[in-house]
Amino acid sequence: MVRKDLLVERRSKETLNALVFFSLLLLFVFQFTLGPDRERLAAALPGILWLGFVLAGLLGLGRTFVLERENDCWDALLLAPGDKSAIYVGKLAGNVLLMLVVETLLLVLFTFFFNVDLAGALPALALVVALGTLGLAAVGTLFAAMTAQVRARELLFPVLLLPVQVPVLLATVKATEAVLLGEPLSAVAHWLKLLAAADVVYVAAGVLTFDFLLES
């Protein structure tokens, strides 16, 4: 599933191109809004960073099953004998990979646009981003499947996803804030534990319910 999705994306580049363009637009808007004031920037940076990740993620995650819809392959997925949770895990892995690529690009552009040095905080930031991305993608992949066959999916998807993401967003923004201020990871251990717990719960819920969700 991952190989197939990445292969199609490498050839069409539809999602990646759209996400990169969208990320650039976001950065321009943020840059104009915040201006050169370093203090305002430092206070807003963690929230802005995650706002960018979440908005780009919403676009990417919402397209999780577009390939199946456009190619009329949804029924064929259902009919494939075997464990359907493998489909979820494959789609989740593809989403996490795609989101990490876009987030890496966004981080690089952030340092360029806002003239901030993230090098010192990078290892800790990478851990926070990885945990947050997994949480986002785990629920996003599940809800993308849930809304794939309904008419108002573009509206329903973010409306369903964002409230469930509150613990992940809260923990990631708080942890990112502390990490960017130079605090050690031990200082944000409680947020990281919350993130890890949310990831485990979300992934487990996805694996356990995906088959039922697809069948219904």
């Binding site: 197939k4 050839r11 069409s12 029924d75 009919l79 004998p81 075997g82």
Partner: protein
């Protein structure tokens, strides 16, 4: 004593939001038998196929494929069926070989390159193995769709308008393929509007009208004109 039917449908009813599409449908299809399912638009042909394919649950009644309940044990039914619907179930940006590799992996079938190449050769697509499906004609996509069944070897094929949109050469090829499938002991159910090749392949003609099976008769006893007359009689009087 005749062998148990591969498909057995009894007292089947399906309603969508109170609108009854199928009511008290009874049908049996045996190994090596082909059934042409005729009916006007909205007669419930596709719904019946989807119930047999485990994609739609009946509101009442039962549908069994090889003794497995389509509603209660869909995972036991699926290895035995092949569905060819309006879509070809192929990814346009993948090559023929990549498509086949993906579906075999998803189905948990062990298939190396040589086996996949043989499956493509069986549907006469070996020369196009490395080409993207986007460039394929409708007939080639249908053949690629059928290549999956060369590997999974289902006992039952469910086809929705199998010859629609195909040129004469593709139709001839598909006819041969389905004849061979039937001769090997497979059961075919073909939903169709047309009185063309589907009827030539069929051993039985089943007409769906007024939400149920209005006629179920052997094909051998009738000519095309007689079938057309019966179709008009049932669909115009009963629909």
């Amino acid at each position: 004593m005749a062998a148990d039917p591969l498909i057995r449908v009894t007292g089947l009813r399906k309603a969508f939001a109170g609108h009854v599409v199928l009511a008290d449908v009874r049908l049996e299809v045996r190994a090596g038998e082909a059934v042409a399912l005729l009916g006007a638009n909205g007669a419930g042909k596709t719904t019946l196929l989807r119930i047999l394919a485990t994609l739609t649950r009946p509101s009442r009644g039962t549908a069994f494929v090889l003794g497995h309940d389509c509603a209660r044990a869909p995972e036991r039914v699926r290895p035995h069926i092949g569905l060819v619907a309006h879509g070809a179930y192929v990814y346009e940006d993948l090559t023929a070989l990549e498509n086949l590799r993906f579906w075999t992996a998803l189905s948990g079938l062990a298939a190396d390159g040589a086996v996949l190449a043989r499956a493509l050769a069986a549907v006469e697509l070996e020369r196009f193995a490395g080409e993207r499906v986007r460039t394929f004609s409708a007939g080639m996509k249908r053949r690629l769709s059928l290549a999956r069944f060369v590997l999974s070897r289902p006992r039952v094929l469910l086809l929705d308008e199998p010859f629609a949109g195909l040129d004469q050469r593709a139709k001839k090829w598909l006819e041969g393929y389905l004849e061979a499938f039937k001769a090997a002991g497979g059961a075919l159910v073909m939903a169709t509007h047309s009185f063309g090749r589907e009827l030539a392949l069929a051993d039985r003609i089943v007409i769906l009208a007024a939400r149920t099976i209005a006629l179920d008769t052997p094909r051998a006893s009738m000519g095309a004109e007689e079938i057309a007359r019966l179709y008009r009689l049932h669909t115009e009087d009963g629909a």
